[in-house]
């Protein structure tokens, strides 16, 4: 009995020591070794007051002399990207979507998510001091760029909107500048988790639940697991962030990345294959799928799984209703999410949403402001991924299909830029007047407008690639290999369990029957011949 107690005591003591060591290692990095080679609080350039973001940037550039030049080449700065396959000019400055429709004409609000200061239609993209280093390198969580200031932080207490009595507290930039460091998931999340105007609204696989996810929600980012930051996969090179839905990698046919391998030059490093290669499963049969099925298809069974809903539909055509006090009407569901806003129209939200599935080769074709659209061709695809079973470049991908009804010009037959945000009389969110708002937006965008506004059904597609579940939560075979399974709409490929081919099936069953008859006959002959002997 004494030995049992000794063992129990030893086990408990071991646990306590183990936990203590783990906690100590976690809090100190690795036994007191600083993680960074520079303590920015010790830099003389940063030991001062900063009246603006530009002053901070100047201080940063005094050491990081080439950083702004690198930033100037990025999509995050330019808000413009030329699609390499279609040559379409995309990016936030050019596309019209079916959420808040366009950044153009609304930069004062939207530029809170630009990595620069003072974004406008006439913004100086060659300016170095307007590069916002803190948006991506703040480690304090205190750096904010409120809506309405064109991407600038507010450094002094400011009443906004003017005359409203609401005070935006000024941010002290000094401690923030002194604590800069590697990009954390919160830096990316400030914009990418809240795209479309709120938490989880736009993407479906990106929301604030990824700030501290458990393993079931994201096997890579789990705090108690691998604890990846966004930049672990989206590993930058000269500030270029790889991985973009404007021109995604539909099929990465390469093996896992190998340091120094010249063949890997220019590869998108933010693919599953760049770490996991082409044969990641222990079961060979599963590896047979990787030339047809994107990893995400099986390993992201649903999106919006983190208890944060995503918008699935937005109908602008119903916007404009007011309550009894004359204010824009607000209707919320039981969980407090807006289902109707007088300034935005009707919404449908979804959680734990099963994706749709398409063949996708990475070519993303947009309907742009200059493209003619016909009401008879509804729904209009804001963007549509191309792909097929036969092109050799496509895989079956999961997507979020977002539907909407948005304003368009029925005479010129184009999508329209709408001036939404602002306190001026032409902003839709101030006056709820579509004609004024569209006229203002189209004028700013330099586009023709007939003066008439109608509404048109639209669809946009969003690839689902985050919120990767652990392997034990991946889709079971039957989810796809069944008559009305998830891949029911996928054409061009034979899926056992889903597909029936009359002649082939008959032939197969014929062979089975023949084999049965043959063995039966053989058995009978043996019995008969034994009796004869």
């Amino acid at each position: 009995m004494k030995r049992i107690w000794q063992r129990v005591l030893f086990a408990v003591a071991s646990c306590i020591v183990g936990i203590a060591v783990a906690v100590a290692a976690e809090s100190s990095g690795a036994v007191g070794v600083p993680k960074s080679t520079a303590d920015h609080s010790k830099f003389k350039e940063l030991q001062r007051e900063f009246a603006s973001g530009q002053e901070v940037t100047k201080a940063c550039l005094s050491c990081h002399t080439e950083a702004a030049k690198q930033i100037h080449q990025t999509q995050h700065w330019k808000w413009e990207v030329i699609n390499p396959q279609t040559q379409q000019k995309l990016g936030k400055r050019h596309v019209i979507n079916n959420y808040c429709t366009s950044a153009t004409s609304n930069f004062k609000a939207c530029a809170s998510c630009h990595i620069g200061y003072g974004m406008s239609e006439n913004f100086d993209f060659a300016s170095q001091e307007n590069v916002d280093c803190l948006a991506c390198h703040d480690t304090t969580g205190k750096y904010t760029k409120p809506s309405g200031f064109a991407g600038a932080p507010v450094t002094k207490d400011t009443e906004f909107p003017p005359g409203s009595g609401k005070i935006i507290k000024g941010t002290n930039l000094t401690p923030i500048a002194q604590a800069v460091g590697k990009t954390r998931r919160q830096n990316c999340g400030n914009c990418h988790f809240t795209g479309g105007g709120g938490d989880g609204v736009k993407h479906g696989d990106l929301d604030t639940s990824l700030e501290k996810p458990d393993r079931d929600l994201d096997v890579h980012m789990a705090k108690d697991g691998l604890n990846f930051s966004c930049a672990t996969c989206h590993k930058t090179d000269a500030h270029q962030v790889p991985g973009s839905r404007y021109a995604p990698t539909g099929k990465d046919g390469h093996a896992a990345l190998m340091p120094g391998n010249p063949d890997d030059k220019g590869r998108n490093v933010a693919t599953c294959q760049s770490c996991h290669g082409q044969a990641p499963h222990k079961q060979a049969k599963l590896n047979d799928h990787t030339d047809k099925v994107a990893c995400q298809t099986c390993h992201i069974p649903e999106f919006a799984r983190g208890d944060v809903p995503t918008k699935m539909r937005w109908d602008w055509s119903t916007a404009g209703k007011r309550d009894k006090n004359g204010k824009p009407l607000v209707v919320k569901d039981d969980d407090g999410y807006d289902t109707y806003l007088g300034i935005k129209g009707d919404f449908v939200w979804g959680t734990n949403v099963k994706p749709d599935y398409i063949w996708m080769n990475g070519v993303n074709k947009y309907t742009l402001a200059e493209d003619k659209i016909e009401k008879s061709a509804e729904p209009i695809y804001i963007n549509k991924y191309e792909g097929s079973a036969r092109d050799g470049k496509s895989l079956i991908w999961p997507i979020k299909t977002f539907t909407g009804k948005q304003p368009f010009d029925p005479v010129n037959k184009t999508l329209v830029v709408t001036h939404l945000a602002g306190a001026d009389d032409t902003a839709f969110w101030a006056n709820l007047d579509w004609e004024k708002a569209v006229a203002s937006g189209m004028k700013t965008a330099g586009r023709p407008f007939s003066g008439k506004v109608d509404f048109i059904e639209t669809v946009s597609q969003w690839p689902i690639t985050h919120m990767v579940a652990p392997k034990e939560k991946a889709l079971a075979c039957v989810e796809c290999h069944s008559r009305n399974g998830r891949l029911a709409a996928i054409d061009g490929v034979y899926i056992p369990g889903r597909d029936a081919k009359g002649m082939l099936d008959m032939l197969g069953w014929g062979v089975v029957l023949l084999a049965f008859v043959g063995s039966l006959g053989h058995g009978l002959m043996r019995i008969v011949s034994r009796r004869k002997n």
């Binding site: 609000a109 105007g197 938490d199 604030t208």
Partner: protein
Amino acid sequence: MRSLLLNALCATVFAFSATTALAADVKMVGVVEKIQLAPDGKSAKATLKDNKSGNSVVLSIGDDETLDKFKDKRIQVGDEIRARFDDAGGNNQSKSFRKTAGC
């Protein structure tokens, strides 16, 4: 001795299962009525008026991110908050405390 060990084991299992049963995540949306920061700044009590029931609920806040928002007035009285908290033991320990507002 063996029965003593068995009893201790049973008591431990019971205690753990009881704790687990009592702990439950509660979600609510409400407007901030009051924020009381502790003198050392390491915790706070926030009172929310539940949009659904109209009742006032006091939440305990312990995470640095939210405490910083209180100190910087990024969250203040009158803001609408979507909160998730653990109501075990009546302490209402906040797990998530965010403004509902978007653009």
